[in-house]
């Protein structure tokens, strides 16, 4: 479809571009930056409202992007994550007031870039989207520029990120040379017709591309940056980074591997099984010995990426559906956990698990909600995490991938141990001081929304499952 005809399908993206510049102007106009945050929320709502309806699959801008129900699904996920992050960061006072306007502005830009990432179906657009999302994330991680830890985290992120982008690009150049195209679907059709030598080269290209995307979803062995970055970044940004870029990384991974490399499906499914088992085991085992709650949740989020990868290691339509259900369940659960951490860090200025002793006395609501989020992460029924996990488990069993199913079961037991360690500290260990922990309005709203989501998905999962089914209705695979 030509550029002019594509514009109507790009309504919400255009609104976000315009609101990015308006936010920039508002940043000059107001010294109290909370107005920029309110404007950001309004812009997201407006962009969602004027977006095109979910329907058939349409290729936009000469086949660079595709507007299909999957794109629509991930757009909802992105807007939800960014909206909740903006609300929660209103209460986060460690970011200097002078630069808060830019903070919200960059989040608007990320909403746009992540949507583009989910819609890209050609190598150039995938590279551009991943790279610009990464660049914006580097800036947001290092946003507290007088904080030693934040700048160190940003540095590690930028170095690891740039190397993995270079690896991905090298793979893309090989694929272009072999197949003569950068369109995923043409590459996929071409690879089957090649001779054996070129197919080996295409396989090497595929591995390089996997390295680039694997970095985004922090799958072992490309996970080294994740704990440091998640610990050093401002807490609202950590919450955001564990959800949106990761979920979109999985969207890109599914699109690339199912459209461009269906020919190698047996090979990459085996590879993903190994990576999934490795990722969840290493994430969970290393999480056990952590004393910093952000670092603990960082390792837990690496392990969660391992669970989600099972959906692609056992490629089937049930596997894809499991990925979609899991990322939504994970969105509410993990955002909520980080928001509770944010509310506590805000007053105590520490993330040590020792500081959580006796939290149940100091703020019962925060302790209860953090407990619910941790139980959901551990996969205890009837919470959202349980629904996600059961889908992942079912998709592994249905494809007779019993090694994966056993790995999930064993890892859930390990994971439960360190989640319960935090719960135990909050409820059973006596507090060092009786001072009450305040929970300001913005975090209270954000925690209430995520709590409602976590419990509602657990009790009425059919709504979410139907959404996931509809999203996959015209997805090219299977």
């Amino acid at each position: 479809m030509s550029a002019l005809l594509s514009i109507p399908f790009f309504g919400s993206e255009l609104i976000l571009v315009v609101s990015f510049f308006i936010a920039m102007a508002l940043d000059f106009a107001f010294s109290d930056k909370k107005w920029v945050a309110y404007f950001t929320l309004a812009a997201l709502a407006l962009a969602w409202w004027f977006g095109p309806p979910a329907g058939a699959s349409v290729r936009l801008f000469f086949g660079s992007f595709v507007w299909d129900p999957v794109t629509h699904f991930f757009k909802g996920l992105i807007y939800g994550t960014i909206g909740l992050t903006v609300i929660a960061s209103l209460a986060y006072e460690q970011i200097p007031g002078r630069i808060r306007g830019e903070f919200y502005m960059l989040l608007v830009a990320l909403a746009l870039l992540l949507t583009v990432m989910g819609a890209s179906v050609n190598l150039l657009m995938i590279f551009l989207a991943i790279e610009s999302v990464s660049l914006t994330s580097y800036l947001l991680v290092g946003f507290q520029k007088f904080d030693q830890r934040a700048s160190e985290a940003a540095l590690k992120y930028v170095l690891f990120g740039a190397v993995s982008t270079a690896l991905m690009l090298f793979g893309m150049s090989l694929l272009f040379g072999i197949t003569g195209s950068i369109e995923l679907s043409i590459i996929g059709a071409h690879i089957a017709k090649l001779d054996a030598a070129s197919q080996t080269l295409a396989l090497i290209g595929m591995l390089f591309v996997l390295a680039g995307i694997g970095f985004k979803i922090s799958v072992v062995p490309f996970h080294f940056w994740a704990p440091d970055v998640y610990q050093g970044a401002p807490t609202p940004i950590t919450a955001f980074l564990t959800i949106a870029p990761k979920a979109l990384g999985f969207a890109v991974l599914a699109r690339v591997f199912l459209t461009a490399f269906p020919f190698f499906m047996a090979q990459w499914a085996t590879l993903f099984s190994f990576l999934a088992i490795l990722t969840m085991t290493i994430g969970n085992v290393l999480a056990v010995s952590q004393h910093d709650i952000k670092r603990l949740l960082a390792y837990s989020s690496i392990a969660q990426a391992g669970y989600i990868l099972v959906g692609l290691a056992a490629p089937s339509s049930l596997g894809l559906q499991a990925i979609l259900v899991y990322v939504i369940a994970y969105l509410f659960t993990n955002l909520g956990a980080f928001f509770a951490v944010l509310a506590i860090e805000r007053q105590l200025r520490t993330n040590d698990i020792g500081a959580y002793n006796g939290l149940a006395k100091r703020n019962p609501f925060l302790a209860l909600s953090l407990t619910i989020f941790l139980l959901s992460l551990a996969g205890i029924p009837p919470l959202a995490g349980f629904i996600g996990k059961i889908f992942i488990f079912a998709s592994a069993v249905k494809e007779h991938a019993f090694a994966l199913a056993i790995a999930i079961a064993l890892n859930s037991a390990v994971a439960a141990y360190y989640y319960f360690k935090v719960v135990k500290a909050m409820y059973l260990t006596p507090a060092d001081s009786a001072e009450r922990i305040e929970n300001p309005m913005p975090t209270r709203i954000a925690i209430c929304i995520t709590l409602a989501g976590t419990i509602a998905i657990g009790i009425w999962p059919t709504v979410l499952i139907r959404f996931a089914e509809q999203a996959l209705i015209v997805f090219p695979a299977f």
Binding site: L123, L124, F127, L128, E131, S132, L135, Y138, L139, G142, K145, F146, D147, Q148, R149, S151, E152, A153, A154, L155, K156, V158, L159, A162, V163, T165, A166, L167, L169, F170, M172, S173, L174, F176, G177, G180, S181, I182, P227, D228, Q231, G232, S289
Partner: protein, 104 residues
């Protein structure tokens, strides 16, 4: 006029890429790492251009891809150097092994 065969160009670009990768993984100086990353990206550019020159593939697509790579390499270098500068102000070092606040 004789032309360089495609194999030689590919061997050159692969060598260039792995020299960059070696530099990025072994250097201690952060600016050195950023330069090594630029070398890796240039190997990618050489790859694209030699494919477009030697094979029957669209030269326009390859050239557009290369232009975008160059632009985003510049953007990455700008962001990377800004972060190195901030880190230098905070921790007074640009050597990666001396940056160790975030560990285990």
């Amino acid at each position: 006029m004789t032309t360089v065969p495609l194999q030689h160009l590919l061997i050159f670009s692969t060598l260039l890429f792995f020299i960059g990768l070696y530099g990025a993984t072994t250097r201690r100086n952060m600016v050195g790492i950023l330069i090594s990353i630029e070398i890796m990206l240039n190997a990618v550019n050489v790859n694209f251009i030699s494919f477009a020159r030697m094979l029957d593939v669209s030269a326009t697509v390859a050239q557009v891809f290369v232009i975008f790579t160059i632009v985003l390499a510049a953007a990455t270098a700008a962001v990377g150097l800004a972060i190195v500068l901030v880190l230098y102000r905070n921790q007074k070092t640009i050597y990666t092994d001396e940056v160790e606040l975030l560990k285990w």
